[in-house]
Subunit: 326 residues, 2 copies
């Protein structure tokens, strides 16, 4: 049985209106009355109705988080930090998994607006910029720049691409593959690819490079596996791979094991993200500041909710973590 303010009113022997005045601290209220009400609430284990309160306050203290796929470890880790930081600030998290479906993303945004979330963090986007501009809610995007007027948080994808490529070149790789998600998705991660191309363009005529990308619909590990095994079939003489996610890099390590190619002696492999499962493989990688990205996304969203200005572009540093695979 849920205890209502009617039950409290009966217990104390006053009207429901009086209890409501106590709850919202309105009008004259004697200290003894306040004490009686609060004791009755404690005794009966009364839970104030946040739904009703949010109507009065016009704040739900809920943040919507739209991600392409929570089961991808990068998003799992960033969500952990978003949740922890939001919780510390008194905010709850409503989780939406768009799975790259345009329709689902649109429905979720409508649903979040209807639920009166105070703002939305977007780590996914398939809708048009126009759709975003009409959301009319505080918004922060993660690793995606949707428009010049919506704040985004990202790490330095270009610098990450430079660091990864330079390492492979320094290690004397002569035939390097760049593997990535689909480059047509207008993600900031595409800058890793741009940096790779720029770094390899100065090499001599014998140097070779290959660029391979996954299909549009993203994080399907079976597809990663096919992509990587196809790559080694076509180019058995590869000696370096820059994978634009640690999950892709793990597939590269798997194929190397299957084909009996020694890592790092025959093939050097570098990943991207710095997630725990890459660490479990001693994978050399570019580490994104995942915790800081999650915290700043929440912080800039809450500042907007409070009516404050926030930076439109926030680009955080990355670092090279050299381990056993290069």
């Amino acid at each position: 049985m849920v205890v209502t303010i009617k039950d409290i009113a009966e217990k104390v022997g006053v009207s429901v209106t009086t209890i409501s005045r106590v709850l919202n601290n309105r009008g004259y209220l004697s200290d003894s009355l306040k004490k009686k009400v609060s004791e009755a609430m404690e005794e009966m284990n009364y839970q104030p109705n946040e739904v009703a309160r949010s109507l009065l306050r016009k704040k739900s203290h809920i943040i919507g988080l739209i991600l392409p796929d929570i089961s991808h470890p990068f998003f799992g880790e960033v969500t952990k930090h978003i949740e922890a930081f939001a919780y510390d600030q008194g905010y709850k998290l409503m989780l939406c998994n768009s799975l790259h479906h345009k329709k689902k993303e649109k429905e979720y945004i409508d649903l979040l607006r209807a639920s009166r979330v105070d703002g939305i963090i977007m780590g996914s986007h398939t809708m048009s910029v126009k759709d975003y501009m009409s959301i009319n809610l505080p918004l922060v995007t993660l690793d995606r720049q949707i428009s010049k007027s919506i704040p985004f948080i990202a790490s330095d994808n270009y610098q990450g691409g430079v660091l990864a490529t330079q390492l492979l070149l320094r290690k004397k790789c002569r035939k390097i593959a760049y593997l990535s998600g689909n480059l047509r998705l207008s993600l900031l991660a595409k800058q890793r690819h741009d940096a790779f191309l720029e770094q390899v363009s100065g090499q001599d005529a014998q140097f070779q490079f290959i660029v391979k990308q996954t299909d549009l619909n993203g994080f399907k590990y079976k597809e990663y596996e096919k992509l990587v095994s196809g790559l080694f079939q076509e180019h058995p003489d590869l000696d370096g791979v820059f994978a634009s996610s640690d999950m892709l890099a793990l597939q590269v390590l798997k194929q190397c094991r299957r084909l009996g190619k020694a890592v790092p002696d025959q093939v050097k492999v570098i990943g991207y993200d710095g997630i725990s499962v890459g660490d479990a493989e001693d994978l050399t990688t570019i580490v994104q500041p995942i915790k800081m990205m999650g915290e700043l996304a929440v912080r800039y969203l809450l500042l907007q909710i409070a009516g404050e200005q926030v930076p439109l572009e926030t680009i955080l540093p990355v670092r090279l973590s050299e381990k056993a695979t290069t």
Copy 2:
């Protein structure tokens, strides 16, 4: 600017009460009036206020999900399925990450009740049984049996333990380590340990086994790493490891690589869970039906919300997936 029913009322030229009657389909309403209101709503991009509606309906269509750690890939994958299935049924997900903190778990439950969630799926618990019994909301637990009266969904941990141990014995392992999370947490996963002990108890006098467990506070990969490296230091002659999670098994594979121990020739390794990152390592493992566990948790919660009876114990089958590490 958020469009309210007052704006719609002004636009159509009727009272707010009339608009409210249309929205809730109460009393006599002419078809032409209904058409005018719905056209005005569409034109002005009106979003019905779910918060206000949930007060009327006494249903929020929100499910609370409390997990120990969303960044652990097993929970990431189960959450993906919970979210997708809840979405199909018109439910939203409020995500709570307890990080094994008793205080945070308790606060979250109070918060979820205050937000009038329709029910809670618990994949975490540190509170006492008494605290759970007083929640007074539909509840389903995942992989945890809190009390005889709260429905739980799990996979067959005992059978998984049998399958894993029998495989290592069949492969002629003579010194096997069982690695797990902390056995004092009263998780159903402890049955894997019981099954292991029962299976190895029939072996001859030369057969040896070791049981190692992590500290209480769970998913810290650095701690996994120390646990595993300590294990090989103490027992350099180990020839089999049954790790009770794929994440632990990945740490075992890493140590084997570092120590130059060939897998599976010198050490055979089997994990538990069947998550994608294990697959990326060609890891032999016990596969839990993660999708079915997530879907049934939602289904049984919604049935309870609808006032229906559900099974108190649901134990789903597991299977052995034999790959490259045994």
